[in-house]
């Protein structure tokens, strides 16, 4: 007769974590598109845009990484997906840093590797965002 009602909540990632993570996609995508524009036109301003967009992407993904590591270190929030997500975010950030150094080269010296790295980082940002939002979270409050 008696029914035990268990309250369960879907515990998603922290709202700030979410904003930071999702923000990496347009920044790195913008960098990749700017690189493509520079490669196509030799117009140097596109490379300047790409350089700053990458810095923005690194800042956001770096902070998102800090959130991910914090989640990883708290058993209540640790889920199977979080470890893979964090590892991916770390790889993204390191490759992104290499890309920033590549973009610190003068003029065409950053090409074509800069464009390749930008595309890879953009793809990783998309996957990381997908995993970050989609990884199975622990249900309930305990």
């Amino acid at each position: 007769m008696s029914v035990a009602v268990e309250t369960r909540y879907s515990q998603t990632i922290h709202p700030l974590h979410a904003v930071l993570l999702a923000g990496t996609v347009p920044l790195f995508l913008g960098a990749a598109l700017s690189d493509a524009a520079y490669a196509a036109t030799y117009e140097i301003q596109w490379l300047n845009f790409a350089s700053w967009l990458i810095v923005g992407g690194l800042l956001l993904s770096g902070l998102a990484l800090a959130f991910a590591i914090a989640d990883l270190s708290r058993p209540a929030r640790r889920t199977p997906g979080v470890a893979a997500y964090t590892a991916l975010l770390l790889a993204l950030w390191l490759i992104g840093l290499c890309n920033a150094f590549m973009h610190a080269r003068d003029a065409w010296a950053s090409m074509p590797t800069g464009l390749t790295l930008s595309i890879i980082v953009t793809a990783l940002a998309c996957v990381a965002t997908w995993l970050g939002f989609n990884s199975p979270r622990r249900w309930g409050t305990q």
């Binding site: 140097i44 700053w52 150094f101 973009h103 003068d106 090409m111």
Partner: protein
């Protein structure tokens, strides 16, 4: 052009010097070794760590003496010895290139640590040694409110000053210690961005033309080709009308110009591009051919293509002239002066070159004044250290040479923009000193 004997002598000297040190590529002379371009994740950087001179002094050859004839200047760059022996010193710091990339912000901060924190004087200071005892007792401002003055030239009674944005002239009368009137503009000089802001100056032997060295607006076109209009070239300016034409192009940063006595030929020292390795690209000393193209940005040392400059221009690459004499990569040659007999037998024929010193190299180079010996009017042989010790064995840097100027009485004037000092190196006095003095004063 160059005698094969001189070439052989140079090569031998270079081989010998190379055997004594680490296996560094041969960097001096007409045929420097050019390794393939290379750049790591970050460019090699060793920034000068400034320190006070204290009791130390720069090192000069046996018999020569050095003294600081002016201190507490405001970024002295180039100097000019006037007919009465007075010395004018141009002081200033120019450039207004905005940071375009994150790299510019970071690199600007790091590089500033290797320079003087003093604000540029934007003025000319006059130094006078009235009694000829080697002590310049008068240090007074000749002209102020200039805009990063650099190149100086005197033609008759007219003093020309190359500001970072315009060429101006003053009327000058011998003995004057202060300009009698504000400067008059001769012509505007390219000044947009002014990544390389220094405007080197030399007057033709007949005084009819002025040559102005205008540096590129980037290392290697990273500010775009539109920023390079009228840059990386030497202008020939008609002294009377101010009309100009490009005299030679493709010279990345011609930081000092000088007219060779006797031949009247224009010579230049040029700073080449960075960030493709510790031994690329050699800065050079060269006679400047009218209408000549010297490679920047498409190629270096003749036909060595620099792929960083896009789109490329194969026709320009094919036309690029190989410079006369490599000074070594990254030495940052900023001063050039032809010697005279009054400098003593060993240094009578050749040029002095002031080297500000490297940043883009793990093992620093430059930070000295060298002498490049000439024979038959061309560079012949390995360079000799003339003033060194600016960078001490403790790794600290006490001075950074810029402009060098010959005092016909038998001295070399060296501007040092780190310790804000003007040094005077005097030749040993010999019996025929007064003779050589009078002949070189002709």
């Amino acid at each position: 052009m160059k005698s094969s004997r001189a070439l052989l002598a140079t090569s031998l000297a270079l081989i010998v010097s190379a055997c004594n040190s680490d296996p560094e590529p041969l960097q001096y002379g007409p045929n420097p070794q050019l390794p393939p371009p290379h750049r790591g994740v970050l460019p090699n950087m060793t920034i000068a760590e400034p320190a006070e001179w204290g009791d130390q002094r720069p090192v000069v050859p046996q018999g020569f003496e050095i003294s600081a004839i002016a201190t507490d200047l405001k970024i002295p760059r180039q100097s000019l010895v006037l007919p009465n022996g007075d010395i004018l010193v141009a002081e200033g710091r120019g450039g207004h290139a905005p940071a375009l990339k994150p790299k510019d912000v970071i690199a600007g901060y790091i590089k500033a640590k290797g320079t003087s924190p003093v604000q540029g004087g934007n003025r000319l200071t006059l130094l006078r040694d009235a009694d000829g005892d080697g002590v310049y007792e008068l240090q007074t401002v000749f002209a102020s409110d200039l805009d990063a003055p650099y190149g100086l030239a005197l033609v008759g009674n007219t003093l020309y000053v190359a500001n970072q944005g315009e060429l101006v002239r003053f009327d000058y009368a011998e003995g004057q210690t202060q300009a009698s009137a504000p400067p008059v503009k001769v012509t505007d000089l390219p000044s947009m961005i002014n990544h390389h802001w220094t405007k080197a100056l030399a007057a033709s032997a007949d005084g009819q033309f002025l040559y102005v060295g205008i540096g590129s607006n980037s290392n290697i076109t990273e500010r775009g080709m539109t920023a390079e209009v009228d840059r990386a070239m030497i202008w020939q300016v008609d002294a009377r009308t101010g009309a100009h034409k490009p005299y030679a192009t493709g010279l990345r940063n011609p930081t000092a110009l000088a007219i060779q006595p006797g031949t009247g030929e224009l010579w230049a020292v040029v700073n080449e591009r960075d960030e493709i390795g510790p031994n690329l690209v050699p800065d050079y000393l060269t006679s400047v051919r009218e209408g000549g193209f010297y490679g920047w940005p498409y190629s270096y040392w003749g036909q060595n293509v620099d792929t960083r400059a896009q789109p490329q221009d194969p026709e320009k690459v094919a036309a690029a002239i190989v410079p006369d004499y490599s000074l070594g990569a990254h030495v940052a040659a900023l001063g050039l002066a032809f010697s005279t007999a009054a400098m003593g037998e060993d240094f009578a024929e050749g040029v002095f070159v002031g080297e500000h010193g490297s940043w883009n190299r793990a093992d620093p180079v430059g930070y000295k004044v060298i002498f490049v010996p000439f024979r038959d009017g061309r560079p012949a042989g390995a360079p000799v250290d003339f003033v060194s010790g600016f960078r001490g064995s403790d790794g600290k840097t006490r001075g950074r040479p810029v402009g060098v100027t010959i005092d016909p009485r038998g001295a070399l004037i060296v501007a040092d923009d780190l310790s804000n000092t003007v040094w005077r190196v005097t030749a040993p006095r010999t019996e025929n000193y007064s003779e050589s003095q009078s002949s070189s004063m002709e």
